[in-house]
Symmetry: C2
């Protein structure tokens, strides 16, 4: 595989596509806002196209990294979408955090075109994308996975096949479930410490040594204390992910009471003007009452 089409040059896709170009692959990009694609070509070489179909027409591997299910429909299944032009024998890898149902639907569309499909949501954030150190959770067939694994390693430190199509999305959902309640409990702990008049930094230094410790505690308590939320993973994206989580839980018959509650708390944060704040901003909701 030599030519890659990369669809979606957001905070994540822009550096990811860059890693592919730097590794010597021929990269053709498409982005909804064309000036971003032009900026990418200026930085990394390669070419940009004005439609997803044009970008995908000659590609061996088509990669999508867009916002949600609806964006996927637009770039893949629309009139100038990837599926209208994709070559038989090529592979589609989707890095969007989307629904498992959408992944299964896209796999069916791809099969009709004689193409392979992998759902491959990532974790590690913008920093992980820039450093080429993402974790990729993949759903799909082992044969397809082996075809593209080395190319995905351009921007990942861990790539793992989790099961059939959809398993990548379901694994990412588990990640978001664990994060949501964890962040709320950290916010409640900090809020309690503040209200009780404790030296909150000293408290965090002590409790982070034992059974309460977490990546979020170690990496977010200071910014939460400082009220700094203009970075990281935005509330609006977390709400999108939790929508897929809660829909899927309903289908699977899984009870997620705290996850559902925290989703509602994020709705409060959005009402407070925090749609673009980091997910650790749950503490602002407690402070503002």
């Amino acid at each position: 595989m030599e030519q890659v089409a990369f669809i979606g040059l957001g905070n994540m896709g822009f550096p990811m596509a860059g890693h592919l170009a730097n590794r010597g692959y021929e990269v053709v990009v498409y982005n909804r806002t064309t000036c971003v694609a032009q900026r990418w070509v200026k930085e990394y070489g390669g070419t940009y196209k004005l439609t997803p179909a044009a970008a995908a027409a000659e590609a061996d591997l088509v990669i999508t990294c867009v916002g949600n299910d609806e964006d996927l429909h637009a770039v893949l299944q629309g009139g100038d979408g990837v599926f209208s032009a994709m070559r038989a024998g090529s592979v589609l890898v989707d890095h969007t955090t989307a629904s498992a149902q959408k992944a299964r639907e896209l796999a069916e569309f791809a099969a009709i075109k004689g193409c392979g499909f992998l759902d491959a949501p990532v974790s590690g954030g913008q920093l992980g994308a820039e450093q080429g150190a993402l974790t990729i959770m993949v759903g799909g067939e082992a044969g397809v996975f082996k075809q593209v694994e080395s190319m995905l390693s351009c921007y990942a430190k861990t790539i793992r096949l989790m099961g059939p199509v959809g398993a990548g999305q379901l694994t990412k959902m588990v990640n978001q479930i664990c994060v949501a309640g964890l962040l709320q409990s950290l916010a409640e702990g900090l809020h309690f410490a503040e209200q009780a008049g404790l030296d909150v930094e000293a408290v965090m230094q002590v409790v982070s040594q034992g059974a309460a410790s977490s990546w979020q505690m170690q990496n977010r308590y200071q910014t939460m204390l400082d009220g700094k939320f203009d970075f990281g993973f935005a509330v609006k994206w977390m709400r999108k992910d939790l929508r897929y989580v809660l829909d899927e839980a309903r289908k699977q018959g899984a009870q997620l009471p705290v996850t559902a509650l925290v989703d509602q708390f994020y709705a409060d944060v959005e009402t407070m003007g925090g749609a673009d704040w980091d997910t650790s901003s749950l503490i602002q909701r407690l402070r503002c009452r």
Copy 2:
């Protein structure tokens, strides 16, 4: 300080008192169930007494490590309690996880007797107590803290003065707040993964590398998958701690919606017969619906 009275030889107190004896202090013990005190003396030397007052009468340092506020009242403020016999100039250190209000009350009683007081709840569990590697969160005066710090180090790897009397208990409360919601979110993540038919061990290996990772995930996911809960920190003790947490939050004007909800979930676990199960048993409640 040479002579120590140790009141309360439970899973924690038994090895903690043992570390003091092994370090050469003269230890006099009291336990509500006398045969445990006899067993302790057989193992570590020292002497046991039949009342808290008798144990404390000659002590420079009196240490309590009992179950809750009511137990503290019984061993300290009752007819044969420590305060009826404690010498002026001695110090009382309480390792019980109790209310901050009780800590302040005991400090006042101690002051009347001319004694120092520190509230000093611990974390690290039975294993930490056995290995002498506990974390101690202390509330009280710096002068009193300095008097006893080296003795407490017999069974602690971290000892930190957090503020005035009560600050030790309040810090421990922050720890329990952070743990409660975190464990529920981990339980929801595992439950979702099970219901979705994922390879749950593979999922945990992947998500524990990033923003969802926690001590609880790393140390409890396997036993949660195995349905093994006959170890660790019991639900009934967590509920006791959360009672103090929620009472204190009401006083401080702190909102703890998820902590309060998880406390109710632990009530379900108790109804299921799980009062003595490890706190990670929240997942059983989700599985049993």
